[in-house]
């Protein structure tokens, strides 16, 4: 332009500019545009989010887009929905929120997903790069805040790094031990034009997740399994995440090995069709027969599980007679809390596929006889009453009416444990629950996310009154998009699990656990959902059936026995076999 002066007062025409541009491939997209297009490329079908100033250029991209946008009522809800969507479908969930409070509200959901290794990508708006560090309006150090609760996070300061960063985020979220990844996106980067064609390459020299297991270790493990007289498979969420349930079932059948699952491993085996092998859940509120089997076994085969303190009880006396095989994709999970004899680092599915051909069938008659005695003597049980609805009964009826085919989300607390105990789990990705972090309020938004991901399955949130009320505002989301979730609130007007501990360990001093609740059925109606009430045990099957047959979102307020306790219970600091049975056996 310098050597071709223009007539004074005239702007350069588009044509004259074009001819003078260098002859490289120009992509005329803003940061927000490129973000949108990469999300589409990554196969994102739905985004959960809540807008605000610093994310508006990105939101604008979804005005007309093949990607469905679900507006939530709180950023925590958006995060849990992305998480629930991911747990139900196996795909990476996506949430988009604004800067500052938007991002800090999302933090609980990120921590929830991180503890349970759930793949999701969160995109948070950020103030413009020039304003970062100046305490600008709605500014927060989101990368700093979320670093301990994400698998990876990054602040994008240059639009040229954006395409690679987004691709890396999805890659990191879903590979290895999955987890949440946060991308913090300043407003000026969202509007900056990208003029360089992106080559699609990733720059992750230090990120090498292991998938194949070491064959020597796999052979050692197989030999130990074939030699064991009393083996137990202890199966965690890693089997679900690795899509290894089918292989796990094969291994259990071929080796004739009983299987106990953690809270996150429920559905890894079909508890009805593989009834003989199923020991149900283990741990603090696990079945007596699972806990006895773990304490009595001579070989414990941990697959995709991490020896959480709620599972092991007192570590020094955990599985004291057993050699331990530990199959896990994360080397840092191995030997973290419990000594392991045969570690196998690798993807659960790949390792099991290599292992299955090496496994021989064995009758193990004495072991199964022992287990069936335990099962007969100490089943999950409760005392039925005529004048009060037992929460366990409601879940049993739900299990029966849905034939174990529903996806079940839960909050956290007593109702969550009863759901794990009394629903019969049949398929992977069936249980959507916050295990590691124990996030109350998780159930409703997670159920909405799951229902959006799996529109052809019934999705039921079994919730507690305390948990439900933490995120009840998301009923507005369910109503707005007509998401047909069914919510069963086991309402005991208490923060029940804490009340149980107060009863057992604090001499019934019920400090700040009693709740005066709203009328949940009418609350649901006010949100535009169907509300039902349940007060008489006789009505349980009828009302649940009505709930299941009513289209759209439905809330059932089930007034249950107020001071029911969850048993068995292994108190903190006790060994797994030292269970309180609550006088039930």
């Amino acid at each position: 332009m310098a050597n071709k002066p223009l007539p004074a007062g005239s702007a350069p025409s588009a044509d004259s500019l074009k001819t003078q541009m260098p002859a490289r491939k120009v992509v005329k997209k803003t940061g927000a545009g490129i973000l949108h297009d990469i999300l589409v490329e990554e196969g994102v079908e739905v985004i959960f989010g809540y807008g605000g100033g610093a994310i508006m250029p990105t939101f604008d991209q979804f005005y007309k887009s093949p990607v469905r946008f679900i507006l939530t009522r709180h950023e925590q809800g958006a995060g849990h929905m992305a998480d629930g969507y991911s747990r139900a479908t196996g795909k990476v969930g996506t949430a988009i929120v604004t800067s500052g409070p938007g991002a800090t509200n999302l933090t609980t959901a990120l921590a929830t997903a991180y503890m349970d290794s759930i793949p999701m990508v969160a995109i948070s708006g950020q103030v413009a790069t020039a304003a970062i560090g100046n305490d600008a309006f709605q500014e927060a150090d989101v990368v700093g805040v979320t670093r301990p609760v994400t698998k990876h996070n990054v602040l994008v300061k240059d639009v040229r790094d954006l395409p690679r960063t987004i691709r890396e985020a999805y890659f990191i979220a879903r590979t290895g031990r999955p987890g949440p990844v946060l991308v913090d996106l300043p407003k000026d980067v969202q509007v900056a034009a990208l003029d360089i064609e992106d080559d699609g390459e990733l720059n992750l020299p230090g990120y090498r997740p292991r998938s194949k297991g070491n064959m020597r270790q796999i052979r050692l493990a197989a030999e130990a399994i074939n030699a064991a007289e009393r083996p137990v498979l202890y199966v965690g969420g890693g089997v679900i995440l690795a899509e290894a349930a089918e292989e796990l079932r094969q291994l259990a059948r071929q080796g004739n090995i009983p299987v106990t699952t953690t809270l996150l491993g429920m559905g890894a085996i079909d508890e009805l069709s593989d009834e003989k092998l199923a020991l149900h859940m283990l741990g603090m509120h696990g079945s007596a027969y699972a806990n006895y089997a773990v304490q009595g076994c001579d070989l414990l085969i941990a697959v995709g599980a991490r020896f959480d303190d709620r599972v092991t009880g007192k570590l020094e006396t955990f599985a004291p007679q057993a050699r331990i095989i530990h199959i896990d994709v994360d080397p840092s999970s191995i030997a973290k809390s419990v000594e392991v004899d045969i570690p196998v680092v690798g993807d659960a599915r790949e390792v099991l596929l290599e292992m299955i051909p090496l496994i021989r069938y064995s009758e193990r008659a004495a072991w199964f006889e022992q287990i069936s005695r335990w099962k007969q003597r100490y089943p999950f049980t409760y005392q039925q009453k005529d004048d009060a609805i037992k929460p366990q009964y409601v879940i049993e009826q739900l299990s029966r009416l849905t034939e174990g085919q529903a996806i079940i989300a839960t909050g956290v607390g007593q109702h969550q444990m009863w759901a794990a105990q009394f629903y019969r789990w049949r398929f992977p990705r069936q249980m959507i629950t916050s295990g590691g972090l124990g996030t109350m309020g998780y159930g409703l938004p997670a159920a909405i996310g799951a229902a959006i991901g799996c529109p052809n399955r019934p999705v039921i949130d079994i919730d507690g009154d305390g948990s439900f009320l933490m995120t009840a505002n998301e009923l507005a989301t369910a109503a707005q998009y007509n998401i047909p979730i069914k919510v069963v609130i086991l309402n005991n007007h208490f923060q029940g699990m804490v009340r149980q501990w107060q009863e057992l360990f604090f001499e019934k001093r019920y400090t700040a656990t009693e709740m005066v609740n709203p009328n949940f059925a009418r609350l649901a109606e006010a949100y535009g959902c169907k509300g039902l009430e349940l007060r008489d045990p006789k009505d349980v099957p009828g009302v649940l059936e009505e709930m299941l047959n009513t289209p759209g979102p439905v809330v059932v307020d089930a007034h249950v026995a107020r001071e029911e306790n969850v048993y068995p219970m292994v108190a903190v600091g006790k060994s797994l076999h030292e269970m309180e049975m609550g006088g039930l056996s």
Binding site: V143, G144, R147, P148, K151, H152, V154, L155, I172, N203, L204, P205, G206, Y207, Y292, Q295, G296, D298, L315, E316, T317, F318, A319, P320, Q321, D330, P331, S332, I334, A335, K336, S337, V338, E339, V340, D341, P343, A366, E369, Q370, R373, W374, R377, S575, H577, E578
Partner: protein, 197 residues
Amino acid sequence: MRKHILSILVQNQPGVLAHIAGMFAARGYNIDSLVVGRTEDPDLSHMVIVSIGDDATLEQVRKQLGKIVPVVKVRDLSEQTCVERDLLLIRVHCPPDKRIELRQLAEVFRGNIVDFGPRTVVIQLTGPEEKIEAFVELCRPYGIKQLSRTGVIAMSRDTQPVEAAPLPHKPKGRRRAGAAMVAASMPSDDGPPLPPS
């Protein structure tokens, strides 16, 4: 409990140091010293962390470091022979009549006097931590006015003596005990008693 020298190669990105230091703090691991600097590759930085702990804990530290995405490589140099160097600057009280004495002391440790004042002297010294600490102890009687250390940087030696080869991986973790006690308290009234372990 012993001293471990961790050599960590990281991608040269903002926030990596905070990430690593935060992980140590969050998991209750200890940092004795931490040095970070450039390498021959502008995309990579080299970090040396000295941490005191038992072998099982340090194995966890190493694994947790490995999980941090921008961490490219982690090695525990104390499993092999290595060259470690710490740099010390120490200002010691030094009236004129002590100058010769302190100069001789520095010479024995191959240190250099880098600043003289009317009543103080600044000595620079490099070497492994033990040597630095011995020198500091010897300076103490003169009166230490100021002391600053860089922390250890380290590199493995090219040739390793045979006996110093890294041990085959032996998994660690909390030891379990009490098998007989547990077996005795298991319910045995309704089945064959469990065989003793």
